[in-house]
Every structure is written in structure tokens, then in C-alpha cells.
């Protein structure tokens, strides 16, 4: 009896998974976005100090297909998407798994707001989510932290952390680290909404591979994240194609790696060579396992993996 119950559960989950994968593929087929497959094992990878890589024989397992897909875009692929595995060492928890499924796609001549609209359409098409809302990073920080994230300083951030009873040992004096602490511990719990919610225009110091621009009095990154029922589902950029600025950011990240005693990573020169040819586009990476978790009503990734 127990065995057949368990088998039924697995079977119905696999059916759901198959259905969602088919819907993802038909969503992009209708929009003439081409499916691609890029290598999982690469001679270099994203140098972010917050990504811990698996490596063997001088090769890295990809932390995302971002660089490989941008190389395709720069050589004229047009709109593309990919469903693939990505790997991030030490990321394990209710909503994290070191090996996970990514859906990443790029749309030419979209800005980040155009792409937010498409992400919302994809969520509605695949898991029947209700209408989404959009709020700027500044807006939610002003409401829940009572600070302007583009004008704050380390002293003020530490005070807000203290007010919220957040004490963390060994945290550096980088304002972004403290903003991330406050965002994950104070703001994110408030984003546990019954509708998807997009957070856009991050501080320029958290731009990663996104463009930055002047917005009112502040420099902001044209970047967004989407939360649904308290789970962070996707991260998108209006993609930077300024190779000089990208090199500067890579060097800054490599310097941080050195400071943290993390292994260095060779700069992807081919990527930087091709970057000026990257068309004006926006791209987004979505955690497919979390999408399946939301669709199945499971409480943790362990239940569905």
C-alpha cells in the first residue's frame, strides 16, 4: 500500500514536471525564441566572490550559462533560451541545491521592464500565477527599512540591523553586504505575497552584469528579481555590453576574491572580446526547481528532487 502511494506521488510529480517543461518550450516556440545548448564544462567561469565553483582537471562546471549564451548572441544568434543544469558549491537548503535546473533566456531590444512583462507572461502560462506587481528596490527599502538604499552609509545600515536584532559576526564594512543582510532578513519575509512581485533598479554597486543608468538623483542598475510566495524565482538584467566597464567589474571581483582568500579565476577574454558586439538585449535566469516547487505545493526542494 505504502509503495503504491509513494509511486503515485512520484508519478504525478513527474507528470507535472513534464507538463511544465512542455509549456516552457511551447511558450518560446510561439515567440520564435530558439532553444540552444551550451557546454557545461568550461575553462573559466563567473568570478563573483559569492559563487563557489565545482572544478576538475582545470575546468569549471558552469554556475550559469550566461557567458556562453552571450557569446552566441554576440555572434548573431538572435533571441535564444536554454534549459540546463547549473552548479553552485555549498548552496544547500530548503530552496537551494548545489545542482539545479536553470531556464535562461535573452531578448534582443528588450529593456528590463519589457523582460519583466515577459517573465510575468511565462509564469502565468506555466503555473497560472495571478497578475504581478512591480516595486523598485528603493520603494521597498523605504517602506520596510526606512532608508534610501542609494544614499545610505555603513553607519546607518548597522543601526537598522541593530534595530531589527540582527547581529552577525565577521561581516565586512561593505554597505552592499549589510544591504543584502537587511534585504534577506527584513524585506524578503514581507515579499511573501499571493502574486508575483518584481523588484527592480538595484543599487549600482549590485549591478553584476547589468547596465547602470541615472534615475532621478541616483545611479541604479537596470536589474530585477521576481519573488512569488516568498521565494526568489528569477534574476534579470538589461545587459551591459561595455567591455571596458565589464573588465573593471571583473577586476574588482577578483580583488575581492583575493581579499577573501578565494581561488582566482582566469578572466574570460573571449567573452570580453565579443561583448561590444552583444546586441542591445535583456536576459533573465529562472530557477526551474523552485517553479516546480511552487506548482506542486511542496515545502522544500528535497521533497521533489
Amino acid at each position: 500500500m505504502n509503495i503504491s502511494h509513494e509511486a503515485n506521488k512520484i508519478n504525478s510529480y513527474l507528470l507535472l514536471r513534464g507538463k511544465i517543461f512542455a509549456r516552457i518550450r511551447s511558450f518560446f516556440a510561439r515567440r520564435c525564441v530558439i532553444e540552444v545548448t551550451t557546454p557545461l564544462l568550461l575553462p573559466t567561469t563567473n568570478p563573483s566572490p559569492y559563487l563557489n565553483n565545482f572544478s576538475c582537471d582545470g575546468l569549471y562546471l558552469q554556475s550559469s550559462p550566461e557567458f556562453a549564451m552571450k557569446k552566441l548572441l554576440a555572434t548573431g544568434s538572435g533571441d535564444i533560451y536554454q534549459l540546463c543544469k547549473a552548479f553552485r558549491k555549498d548552496e544547500a537548503g530548503r530552496f537551494h541545491n548545489p545542482e539545479f535546473m536553470i531556464l535562461e533566456w535573452y531578448r534582443i531590444s528588450f529593456d528590463h521592464h519589457d523582460l519583466m512583462t515577459e517573465v510575468e507572461e511565462l509564469l502565468r502560462y506555466t503555473i497560472k500565477s495571478p497578475q504581478a506587481k512591480r516595486r523598485s528596490y528603493q520603494d521597498v527599502c523605504e517602506e520596510f527599512l526606512k532608508i534610501n538604499p542609494h544614499k545610505t552609509n555603513i553607519k546607518q545600515l548597522k543601526q537598522v540591523a541593530q534595530k531589527n536584532n540582527l547581529v552577525v559576526a565577521n561581516l565586512d564594512n561593505n554597505p552592499d553586504t549589510w544591504l543584502q543582510l537587511l534585504f534577506t532578513h527584513v524585506v524578503e519575509p514581507k515579499l511573501n505575497t499571493k502574486y508575483p512581485i518584481f523588484i527592480y533598479d538595484f543599487p549600482k554597486t549590485q549591478a553584476m552584469l547589468a547596465r547602470t543608468r541615472q534615475q532621478g538623483k541616483a545611479q541604479v542598475a537596470s536589474r530585477f528579481e521576481v519573488y512569488y510566495k516568498g521565494i526568489e524565482l528569477a534574476n534579470g538584467f538589461h545587459e551591459l555590453n561595455d567591455a571596458q566597464e565589464q573588465r573593471r567589474r571583473f577586476r574588482h571581483e577578483l580583488a575581492q576574491r583575493k581579499k577573501l582568500n578565494l581561488p582566482s579565476i582566469p578572466i574570460d577574454e573571449e567573452f570580453l572580446d565579443l561583448l561590444p558586439k552583444l546586441p542591445n538585449c535583456s536576459g533573465v535566469a529562472l530557477g526551474v526547481d523552485r517553479l516546480l516547487l511552487l506548482a506542486s505545493g511542496a515545502q522544500s526542494l528535497a521533497e521533489i528532487n
Binding site: D90, L181, F183, E232
Partner: protein, 188 residues
């Protein structure tokens, strides 16, 4: 000293936090889309029993606590020290009145208790969940008043005072739940 990293924090792992041994109860991994990851950890201080929540930067380490949970048999006390023995190794342990604390009133010779040892010193003791103890003093039972009705205090052989039904007499053996201090039934 052995150290334990946040990604090895699991239920039951024992670490030292601010000088005190703690038992890890829960560990939640929290990471912004891009950026610094954190671990939100729930721990029980093994000395005070208090549960606390702490956030750590992912990858940070704490010193491992050389703590173990063992079963020890209670032998006797001399008013200051309570004496126990391991039924497995016959090793004897003395535990101070302070550490035994409130548990003292449930301890009967030869009962087996759950004891937390840190660096081989007892820091916490839990009496058996159910104990059977003899009534040494209580008001006489009222005739005709049986299973239902009120209750009265009774003093047990260990000195503990519990509320018992009116039909209980001196010399009766009672089963008590030590978590709540409540009378369960008459034993044999």
C-alpha cells in the same frame, strides 16, 4: 580544536557559541539573488536550556563542542553532590546541586537519567519522563469520594509535592510525569 562550518550545521551538531556549548536545532540557508549568503541558525544553549536564533555569514566556522548525551544511573546524594554511575562503563560522575537543580525532586536511587556531558563534566540532567514514587504524606482519603472530584497535595518519598486525587493514601505508589509534575495513575 576542531571547527565546524555553517554548511555542516545540522540538527544535533554541538558547537561552542560565546563560551557555552550549544546544540544546533535548525539551519536555514538564506541567499540574496546575487551576493552574500547567510545561515539563520536556531540553537539550544546546553547549559541554560535557552533557545536562541543567530545569523552567520555562510562559510564561517564555530568550534566543535566535545559534548555527548549519556544515560547515567542515580546512586545517592550527600546534600551537596549528586552521585551517578554509567551502567555501561561503571564510571562514576558527581554532579553539583546547582546543575541537578529542580530535577532533584524526581530522583530515586537507581533510576536512569539523561545527562549531557561537556568535556566529561555534566552540564544538564533530565530525569526519566515517568517515575514511580511512594506517597509519604497526604491528608486521609475521604470515603465515598472515588474517581472524580477534587484533588489534594501529596508529599512523595523524594520530597516532591504533587496534586493527587482524593482517594490516594499514604503508602500508595504513584506514576508521575516529570515534564509537567502531574499525577498519571496509581502504580504497583
Amino acid at each position: 580544536m576542531a571547527t565546524i562550518s555553517t554548511n555542516e550545521f545540522r540538527n544535533g551538531v554541538k558547537v561552542i557559541l560565546d563560551g557555552d556549548p550549544c546544540n544546533i536545532l535548525e539551519n536555514e540557508y538564506v541567499k540574496p539573488g546575487k551576493g552574500q549568503a547567510f545561515n539563520r541558525v536556531k540553537l539550544r544553549n546546553l547549559k541554560t536550556g535557552r533557545v536562541l536564533e543567530k545569523t552567520f555569514k555562510s562559510g564561517d566556522t564555530l568550534e566543535a563542542a566535545d559534548a555527548a548525551d549519556v544515560e547515567l544511573q542515580y546512586l545517592y546524594n550527600d546534600g551537596e553532590m549528586w552521585h551517578f554511575m554509567s551502567p555501561a562503563t561503571y564510571e562514576q560522575y558527581t554532579i553539583s546541586k546547582n546543575t541537578v537543580g529542580d530535577s532533584a525532586k524526581w530522583l530515586k536511587e537507581q533510576d536512569v537519567c539523561h545527562v549531557t556531558l561537556w568535556n566529561n563534566n555534566a552540564i544538564d540532567i533530565t530525569p526519566p519522563t515517568f517515575v514511580t514514587l511512594k506517597v509519604v504524606d497526604t491528608d486521609p482519603g475521604l470515603r465515598g469520594d472515588t474517581a472524580t472530584g477534587g484533588s489534594k497535595p501529596a508529599t512523595l518519598e523524594t520530597g516532591a509535592v504533587v496534586r493527587v486525587p482524593l482517594f490516594i493514601n499514604i503508602g500508595d505508589i504513584l506514576k508521575i510525569d516529570t515534564r509537567t509534575g502531574e499525577y498519571i495513575s496509581r502504580g504497583k
